[in-house]
């Protein structure tokens, strides 16, 4: 291991850890095994860390102890008290820490080994530092956007793609120069600085609705940075864990971009923030929507036997998941069956809606994916759309001019009645008109989703009692 002392026992500990990590991911194939898998993964991590502390030739434990204690306290605090609605922010922050840790290890390794470094290690270190710092600032930007510290709207400028591609190429050139002559430390630190810059500039143009893709991609980069660390240190468990994380993030971003009908190349080059065009024909059909009162909506809901709920980011913003579940229970008490239709890109990260509904005690066998439920809308009495927009826009199917044309969406308009909960009639950042809102069978109920749902619940219970 490049000058470090490698004990065979340590290698064995890393093997155990690697197996545990794979079992942890395997556990996630079903919610019934997932918790046990996670515990196995944590055990593997413990074995690897304890093994390293004892067997890796460490001579000074003071700063290590400080880091482990401070990190554990912060990590535990961030996990125990953070509300589930803040999960995308939480995940963005953890990518940020992961990227920084990998990058700093790379800097230390380069600083320590100096001119004695070989070309291969140099290549790995260069990648590690570039990807690590890119993930660090990129995730910070994503966090800022999710938290509302930076505008969630896409920020675009002229020649943006050209400059991003130029910077990627510059990083590649730096890497090649470093591999040719590892002793040029200026180039190494320039590469790190470039990573920091690319992270900022690549995420800045991205709009809030594209966050699921970005977060997945940053997940992948954090993993690749870890894998590069493994190459530089000659450490197999790092390579394996990094490859697993990298693959996972990559697969998720592919799934997300597919669910938005974007090509993966489009995603990789950060062009996705720009696709959103300016609103066309403002004030057009918006005047014809069917504004409904709470009483009208309650009447439809109580008369319905089959109900599908379609949640979107608006549910998270309004923290309405508990109210959604209470309404569903009231309707079930009324004899209706309630299902939830979850779009892959609903919310701000993969699986966002599932976690929120699980938090509100919605049984997961009531949650259905796009493909599994899309045929059922035509047999459904009422569909309740809670803060979702693009994923229920029929323009994706029948308007070739629409920016979201081709994106797989729910056939919500086929259900007998549709109730849409929406904050206001603004078209939002993307500025896309939604034809669903002007259909004759659609009722729009404007206002805060949680407040409206509470009124629905009261109304439904009243009718049931009457």
């Amino acid at each position: 291991m490049n000058g470090h002392i490698v004990s065979p026992y340590l290698t064995f500990a890393y093997l155990i850890a690697s197996v545990c990590f794979i079992l942890a991911l395997q556990g996630l194939s079903s919610p019934t095994h997932a918790r046990r898998g996670n515990a196995i993964g944590a055990f593997g991590m413990l074995v690897a860390v304890v093994g390293t502390l004892i067997l890796a030739g460490i001579i000074d434990y003071r700063w290590i102890a400080a880091g482990l204690i401070i990190g554990s306290l912060i990590g535990a605090a961030m996990s125990i008290w953070i509300p589930m609605t803040k999960m995308p922010e939480r995940i963005a922050l953890s990518h940020c820490f992961g990227g920084l840790a990998a990058a700093l290890v790379g800097v230390v390794e380069y600083h320590h080994r100096g001119a004695a470094i070989d070309r291969f290690t140099m290549g790995a270190l260069g990648l590690e530092v570039f990807l690590g710092f890119l993930t660090f600032t990129g995730s910070l930007m994503a966090f800022g956007k999710l938290q509302g510290l930076i505008t969630g709207a896409p920020v675009t400028w002229k020649g943006q793609n050209a400059s991003n591609i130029t910077m990627f190429c510059a990083a590649l050139v730096l890497l090649v120069l470093l591999v040719i002559d590892p002793s040029r430390s200026v180039l190494f630190y320039a590469m790190g600085a470039l990573g920091l810059l690319v992270g900022v500039l690549a995420v800045l143009p991205i709009g809030g609705a594209d966050m699921p893709v970005v977060i997945s991609l940053l997940n992948s980069y954090a993993g690749l940075a870890s894998a590069a660390t493994g190459f530089a240190l000659g450490n197999n468990v790092l390579i394996i864990a990094g490859a697993l994380d990298g693959t996972s993030g990559f697969l998720l971003s592919m799934k997300m971009s597919k669910a938005m009908n974007r090509s993966f190349a489009n995603v990789l080059f950060g062009a996705f923030g720009q696709v959103a065009p300016a609103a066309e024909g403002a004030g057009g059909p918006a005047a014809n929507y069917n504004l409904a009162t709470v009483e009208d909506a309650v009447g439809v809901l109580t008369a319905s036997q089959t109900v599908i709920v379609v949640p979107g980011y608006g549910m998270a913003v309004s923290q309405a998941q508990h109210a959604v579940r209470e309404l569903a229970q009231a309707l079930e008490a009324n004899g209706a069956t309630v299902k939830y239709a979850i779009h892959p890109v609903a919310g701000r990260m993969p699986g966002h809606m599932n976690v929120l509904l699980a938090e509100a005690n919605v049984p997961y066998d009531q949650l259905f994916d796009l493909d599994d439920i899309n045929d059922e809308f035509s047999r459904t009495d009422v569909t309740l759309v809670v803060g979702a927009n693009d994923v229920v826009n029929p323009a994706a199917k029948n308007n070739p001019g629409s920016p979201i044309h081709g994106m797989p969406v729910f056939n919500v308009e086929e259900s007998r009645a549709v109730i849409v909960l929406k904050r206001s009639m603004n078209t939002g950042f993307a500025g896309i008109e939604n034809d669903l809102f002007v259909q004759p069978n659609t009722m729009m109920v404007l206002g805060d989703a949680k407040k409206t749902l509470r009124e629905f619940i009261a109304g439904v219970k009243e009718e049931a009692a009457a």
């Binding site: 961030m78 390579i239 979850i342």
Partner: protein, 97 residues
């Protein structure tokens, strides 16, 4: 050195394939816990941080290593805890996990 590179690539590519097959089986229901869990796992860079912080390579290495240990520990401890907290919430009808 070329051998070491090839051996590392070997492991990387095979682990990537394995990851692909295992992760393809994760339902969309659990995509957020998947992300949190892989985050915790990639916090394994902690072992590299430990060596950087504790090998007596001078104060720069110790300081940067200390920051790296802190960040990586946040991710491992926090990652496994929050994944567990999320997974605990997923229940079938009738309250059974």
């Amino acid at each position: 050195m070329a051998n070491e590179l090839l051996f590392g690539l070997f492991i990387f590519v095979l682990a990537g394939f394995l990851g692909h097959y295992v992760i393809e089986k994760v339902p969309p229901l659990l995509h957020t816990p998947l992300m949190a869990g892989t985050n915790a796992i990639s916090g394994i860079s902690l072992v590299g941080s430990l060596v950087a912080a504790g090998s007596g390579w001078g104060w720069t290495a110790t300081l940067l290593g200390f920051i790296a240990v802190t960040c990586a520990t946040i991710n491992t401890v926090g990652g496994f805890l929050i994944t567990d907290r999320m997974l605990k919430m997923f229940k079938r009808r009738g309250g059974k996990g």
